[in-house]
Amino acid sequence: MSSVLDWEATPNPVKENRAGNIGKAVDRYEGPLKVTGTAPYAYEVEPPSPPAYGVMVSAEIAAGRITAIDTTAAEASPGVRLVWTHLNVPPQGPRPERYDFFTPSPRPALQSDRIYFFGQQVAIVIADTLENANAAAAKVAVTYEADAPMAIFHDHLDEGVQPPGEQDTEIGDFAAGFAAAPVTIDDVWRTPLQNHCQMEPCATTAWWDGDHLTVNTSVQMVRFAQNSLAETLMIPAKQVRLLTKYIGGGFGGKGSFYEDLVLAALASRELAQPVKIAFTRQQMMHGTVHRPATVQHVRLGATPEGRLTAMSIMTVTHCDSRGNFTEHASNFARSLYAAPNRLTGHRLVRMDLPVASAMRAPGEASGTLSLEVAMDELAEKLGIDPMELRILNEPDVDPETGKPFSIRQLVRCMREGAQMFGWGRRNLVPGQVRDGRWQIGVGMAAAIRGNMLLPAKCSFSVDAHGVITVRQGMTDIGTGTYTVLAQIAAETLGVPLGDVRVEIGDSELPPAPGSGGQFGAATAGSAALDAGMNLRKAITEIAVADSASPLFGGPSQDITFQDGVIAIANRSERLADLIRRNRPDGLTADGEIRPAADARNWSQHTYGAHFVEVGVDTVTGEVRTRRMLGVFAAGRILNWKTARSQLTGGMIWGVGSALTEGNSVDPRYGSLINQDLAGYLVPVQADIGEIDAIMLDEVDDKANPMGIKGVGELGISGAGAAVANAIYNACGVRVRDYPITPDKLLAAIMAR
């Protein structure tokens, strides 16, 4: 196993960046396809013969069982090819008692008469056209025996249990430290259930060729989905080819897969015809996953000078009745501020609700909404600038583990951001600045999000034209994977970007974990770098052994790769010429990355600072974000353009979390009240004012051989808290129940 110290000490082309491909604002590799509408998403892939269309029927109770399900009218409906319920669906692999994030396991569909949550799929109708399938699905008559669902999280907060395999972490003596602190904050924050709302609903196009299945679907993790599907269908994984070339947004919600994939595979086998199934927007809200609500109890104790002496976040959250997903809203606090006495932990309530899972920055996205506001409150109590309070409590080493930080530029993010934003010009007293009907306020918050590296493989080929092809079972969910892999390949092999092809999103390619946890670029990219280095080596060996090559005889260690030309000293030839002469069919090399054995000896994170200016209309309760600035430190940046888009995108998610996004449960039915994009309010154009994201120069040599880290989840972390703090600065009231909608804000203003 390698050591991070080897990575740190070993030069490589990405670090050297001689051609300047790394960090450059390169346009998206697949961009021309996306702006012309010619990138085929899962439902749009052309099957080998005309497909049949599936429409799913969803449960209308949250708990109980199906007592009768009458499909006769649906089966007699025009064009219907089959109707399946739990009574006649083909056999599938058994569902494990609990799902695990990283362990493939069967995900069987339509398994029994039991209903575990509102919107659970209870039937599938396949017909010759979408219109006929829709009409027939409406004729499936389901009779239920409904139990009273346990659906209102806030009624069950004291029933939370310790999540499996976890324990609270306590350093020092929190209770004593908090009791002794002269200045304290002790408040409770609530964050709501949120929906991912990817623009592309989950969808699958499936077909069989003999006993070999091809599925085009929309998932973030290729190999996980391939293996889980194979286990569901009870066939060897090698008989399943899973393709996911273009994905219309993931955000964690496509980390696993759903009934569209399983039922399309089963139905196309049954009908010997390609089958397409898509979720409706309404089915997406219940039938996939969501970010669960949290209640966070934050307690801070400090000296009058602003030194934290005690710090605690205890989070209560929920998951579905058969789940164990925990929204770890307290975890990030373990590494953020120094305090000798600390207590963090989680309690989990299993509810008759749809399945909870990861949504963009699980943990940090929810947790920063409490602690980063609590810090603002503490700063005000102490009469200290909230940024200076954070800097005062900046730890030298990880405050919980005592491990050194790989690199930590949080203070620099805050200082540089403050200067660019004009933080020093703000009015310390809330409610003092007015612009017409708007009361203006500014707020800031820190951002932190962990960093990870997972095992991955990759292959690189060069052909007789000198074109490099990167192959990897990786995904691009809008993150820029295609583009950064092309940049790494161009830099490593010294070819123009236009001479690189990238093939991803296919289970037949070398496995990579996929997109999630902002580990994608580092993981996939590090495997790509290794493959590139191995291809360089293979090319070098051929060149120095080829008497027809000017490079014949070496010395190998002096070889350079630049502009499609390989050279040793002043002897050179085109890479294409060497390959055409020696390997007319091309040359391939494999590579891989594994986490270093000592990677966990360092505390590794990405950091940032958010600054926001809002306007609050204290008559209507309306809040507008006028100006946002985020300054981030996240290792070497591979592509300035795509990284910046991810960061500003995340910041805008923070605005949604602060102001509009949240779903409520209907106590009568255990359903989510907002079932579509008219009710569940994601930010739209008019919600977002001026916004910018700055990336500081940074290299984290302990993260991976390239010194890069992820940015996909950093931007949301802390952004909503900065908005909440700005609202306080504008109008002098705090709403600790997100989202801060006009009704809540007006009530708080009236109560003041």
């Binding site: 346009d27 998206r28 697949e30 961009g31 021309p32 396809l33 996306k34 702006v35 012309t36 509408g37 010619t38 085929p40 998403y41 439902y43 749009e44 052309e46 056209t129 979408l130 219109e131 006929n132 829709n134 991912h196 709302c197 990817q198 623009m199 592309e200 609903p201 273009y246 219309g248 947004g249 993931g250 955000f251 898509a278 409706t280 927007r281 969910i477 809008g478 993150t479 820029g480 353009k641 795509t642 910046r644 888009s645 991810q646 500003t648 995108g649 995340g650 805008i652 998610w653 579509d676 994009l677 008219a678 994601v682 930010p683 739209v684 154009q685 008019a686 919600d687 977002i688 916004i691």
Partner: protein, 168 residues
């Protein structure tokens, strides 16, 4: 039902189930899958196309209502290798990430710019007496029917502004 729709300049004779939306006729019957289905309820804008030059949500319209109409989809705006200026601007400004809302954003932008050129006011328009100034607020208001969950909103504004030819 027999319906003839001119799609991207070409007359297409269709025999459609009358329940077929314009969106599904484009995607499933004509296999023009550039037009996206994000919600099927007129809430997200991913299915925006131009009908006789006016932007509409194609999911809210039955195909048979468009007999004789001229429909422009993203495939008619420009092609790989021959991108329209608005498509090139989206690429240059990185005005998308996952790309699923992008065809709708682009068609919507084209329709929107035509509305501004025709001096059609919006909620943000303060002066109804002169030509409309395409301020950022005006632009954002007019593009708010197109959701981008990746939230490339600032880049979309930049891309549209780059081709609008209109002063801010």
């Amino acid at each position: 039902m027999k319906t003839t729709i001119t799609v991207n300049g070409e007359a297409r004779a269709l025999d459609l189930d009358p329940r077929t939306t314009l969106l599904d006729a484009l995607r499933e019957t004509l296999r023009l899958t550039g037009t996206k289905k994000g919600c099927d309820h007129g809430q997200c804008g991913a299915c925006t196309v131009l009908v006789n030059g006016t932007r509409i949500n194609s999911c809210l319209s039955l195909a048979v209502m468009h007999d004789g109409d001229a429909v422009t989809t993203i495939e008619g705006v420009g092609q790989v290798g021959a991108l329209a200026p608005i498509q090139q601007a989206f690429l240059t400004e990185d005005a998308f990430q996952c790309g699923y809302c992008t065809p709708g954003q682009i068609c919507s932008a084209l329709g929107m710019l035509a509305e501004v050129a025709a001096n059609q006011p919006s909620q943000e328009t303060t002066d109804l007496t002169g030509p409309i100034r395409l301020t950022d607020d005006e632009l954002r208001e007019r593009m708010s029917g197109n959701i981008c969950r990746c939230s490339a909103y600032p880049q979309i504004v930049a891309a549209i502004r780059a081709v609008s030819g209109l002063p801010a």
